[in-house]
Every structure is written in structure tokens, then in C-alpha cells.
Amino acid sequence: IGDSSVLRKAMGVAQHHDAVSGTEKQHVADDYAKKLAKGWDRCEVLVSNALAGLSGLKQNFIFCNKLNISVCPRIEELGQFTVTLYNPLARAVNVFVRIPVNGTRYTLTDPKGSSVLNQIVPVSDFTKAVRKDRGYAVNELVFQARVPALGFSIYSVSRKSDSAVFRRPPPRR
């Protein structure tokens, strides 16, 4: 059962001026983080239910909370997956999406079934250093998506055979 009240309460607790300004003791900061993480866990279920209800498709949605460091172990190896983009703004937006993957060639289709230009690039050395590379994705899939106002788009991704090996462009010092 999805439930937003856990996150709502955690957000309520984090309204304290110490949480806003970062002047709390470390163990209190840790506690705020724990409460917020637990709140988001329950919201993931809520969002999954909402997406399934709105689209009429029942799927096991995967939430990747570390995309900023190119970490999402549950999709990196998949041959086929979908990317759902929900736009909370009241106007349509174009966004660039970066997904960690291990393949080197993918086909991508937009909600109308049309092919979408995409790029595979290696994860940067900086990102590898941050995540102390523990077997995480080696590449990123980058594409531009359009998402309608207050709505969502689903893009489909399929891995092609890795016949062509990606070569990093020669560094320019």
C-alpha cells in the first residue's frame, strides 16, 4: 500500500531551522536522512500505483535514486526496459536523460513508436572515482525526451548486440 504520510511527517520534522540550515548535530542529520529515506520508500509504492492506474499497465517499477553518479544496478544489465518520465510542471518540457547501462548499442523508441537518436558514452573517470567503482555501469545512455504538461511519457529501450565496441574519443589535453 502506497502512503505519502510517512514522507509528509518526515518533511514536517525537517522544517526545523536546524534541518534547513544544516546546523544540527551529526546524529540528528543522520536521523533526518533516515526519516526522509523511509518516507520516500513508501512514496515509491504510491507512485508505482499511480503510474499503473493512469497508464493501465501493471509493471514492477524501478526507482534509481543515484542516477547523479550513474548507479542503477537493477537496469544496467537489462536487454529491454522502459523509461517513464513524469513532468510535474504545467507545461511540456524537453529533457536530456542519462541512464547507466553496460551495453554499447541500444535502440530507443518514443511514445509514438518512433526511433529516437541516442548516444552511448563511457561513465566519466570522476564518477568512477566517486563510486569507487564496484562493478557499476561502464556506460551512459543519453537521449532527449519530451514530456507533456502534468503528465508522463514512456520510452522503450532495447539493447542491440555489441558487435561494435565503443571507443573513447582520444583525450585532448
Binding site: E24, Q59, F61, V95, V97, I99, K112, V142, I154
Partner: protein, 284 residues
């Protein structure tokens, strides 16, 4: 062989051949050009001095001197250029790096910085800033926002409601930056959008700076009772990664760009994955 550069339909960013730092930004549509040097610096945190025993801490920002230390005078770079985006990777030190990114058709430059863990083995607390230096004549005026609503003009060493005797030339000019900071002359405006609240200032004319990370060794005696030194997941110190979005525009046209982009950033789309082929879908 010539200066490293990245460009799209709207923006061109040039890099200094010797230092590897950003050296110039051009707005190709408006024919605007501004020499901009962007780099990272750190202030040495005060532990108190003869004028005041106040150390820098969780509540108080108080650098030891007015001049921050450059993270690096020269950075190693490499570039990745594709049909969708162009990037230049800059390595400032073992604990500071940045990706300068231009996506296709985007009207701003994206800087993705990664800072930390801040080393404190030398027993010096450090407060790290990203600074943009330009020749803009700003007469001590810069602008910061309050949650993107009211933009307030800030004047260096000045308060509108009392006669200020400035005792802290750096900290006394720092202001909260909830989502943006900018400076302008009569023609050009340089705007920096942030992805989180930070402290920021313009310590010299034509210069903007934002504090991106800090790690301190002493409590500031304001109640928290411990130094601000977050351990991170492995106990070695926190690593932070964030973004700054840079707009070079005319003064008249800047607001329309930075307000719309700030909305898009604040309410960025959620990305949710699912296994399997799925069915194409777009809601209305």
C-alpha cells in the same frame, strides 16, 4: 592546436590553452561575448584571531583571510563531443573536478561539479567556492533571490537600513542564494542558477562566487556543540555533486530564460524504470 571549445547553436564556451579553465562565453544568437574565468578556490576557516575569538562553524562563516586559495592554477582536461552534447572534463585536484556541458539546443552552460572529501589532515578547515571572474563593471551591486520570488539587489559593504561598519570583508558580504545569483552592467547579464541553496557573493566588481562545500575542525560556540565535518558513508568526509547553470544574456532578456529554467530544474521530471518491453504511452 588552438583553444579547446564547445559550442551549440546558441552558446560557445572557450577554454584557456594554458590553464584549461573556462576563459570566455559567447552568446551566438545575441552576438554577446564575455571573458569569464571560472575556477574553484577555498577559504581557510578562521579559528579566531585578536579581533574576535569567533571560529568558522556550522552557523558562522568566517574565513581567516580575504583571499581564497586556488584549488589549482592549471587543470587537466579532456573532451567528449557527440551529436547530442559536448563536454569538457576538468580535473582540479584529487578531490575537486567538474564537467562543463552543452546539450544540443540549450541556451545555457551546465557545470557539474564534484567536491570532496575535503582533506583536513593539515589541520585547516576549508570552505570551497566556485568563482566567476569577468570584466563586467558592476559598481558593487549584485543580485540574489529568495526562493526565486523576490530578487534583491545587494550592495557590497552596505545595508539599506543602517550605516554599516564592515568588519568582515568576505563573510559580511555573503548572502543566501536559494536558486540564483546574477550581476550585470548596462548591457550584459551573467546569471548562475543553483540546484540547492548556497551562500554567495560578489567580493570584487565583475566577480561572483558560490560556496559549494565546507569542512571545519572547530565548533563555532553557537549551540551545535560540534565541528561541521560530515563523515560521509565511509567516514572519510562527504563528497558532494551539484550543478550550476550559466546564462549569458542581455539584461532585458535574461529573466525569461532564468525563470523558466529554474522552474524546470526545481520541478525536474522524475525518471522511473521498468523491466520489459512496455507499451508506448504518453498521457494528455
Amino acid at each position: 592546436k588552438g583553444a579547446l571549445k564547445i559550442e551549440n547553436e546558441y552558446i560557445r564556451v572557450l577554454f584557456d590553452t594554458n590553464t584549461g579553465l573556462i576563459s570566455k562565453i559567447d552568446n551566438l544568437h545575441k552576438n554577446l561575448s564575455l571573458p569569464v574565468t571560472q575556477s574553484f578556490y577555498w577559504y581557510s576557516a578562521s579559528t579566531g584571531n585578536s579581533e574576535s575569538g569567533q571560529p568558522s562553524g556550522a552557523y558562522i562563516f568566517r574565513p581567516k583571510g580575504e583571499a581564497p586559495f586556488p584549488m589549482s592554477k592549471k587543470v587537466q582536461t579532456y573532451t567528449v563531443q557527440t551529436d547530442l552534447f559536448q563536454e569538457v572534463y576538468q580535473n582540479f585536484s584529487s578531490w575537486c573536478s567538474q564537467t562543463v556541458r552543452l546539450y544540443k539546443n540549450q541556451k545555457f552552460v551546465e557545470l557539474e561539479w564534484t567536491v570532496g572529501p575535503i582533506p583536513v589532515g593539515d589541520n585547516i578547515g576549508k570552505e570551497v567556492i566556485s568563482r566567476f571572474d569577468t570584466p563586467l563593471k558592476t559598481d558593487g551591486i549584485f543580485y540574489t533571490d529568495s526562493n526565486g520570488r523576490e530578487i534583491l539587489a545587494r550592495r557590497r559593504d552596505y545595508r539599506p537600513t543602517w550605516n554599516l561598519s564592515q568588519t568582515e570583508p568576505v563573510a559580511g558580504n555573503y548572502y543566501p542564494v536559494n536558486s540564483r545569483i546574477y550581476m550585470k552592467d548596462g548591457k550584459i547579464q551573467l546569471t548562475v542558477l543553483t540546484d540547492r541553496s548556497q551562500g554567495g557573493s560578489s567580493i570584487k566588481d565583475g566577480s561572483l562566487e558560490l560556496m559549494v562545500h565546507r569542512r571545519l575542525l572547530y565548533d563555532d560556540n553557537r549551540g551545535v556543540g560540534e565541528p561541521l565535518s560530515e563523515p560521509g558513508y565511509d567516514g572519510n568526509g562527504l563528497i558532494v555533486r551539484g550543478k550550476h547553470f550559466i546564462f549569458l544574456e542581455t539584461v532585458d532578456d535574461s529573466a525569461e530564460l532564468h525563470r523558466l529554467q529554474a522552474q524546470a530544474e526545481y520541478m525536474a521530471p522524475w525518471t522511473i524504470m521498468a523491466e520489459g518491453a512496455g507499451t508506448p504511452y504518453s498521457s494528455h
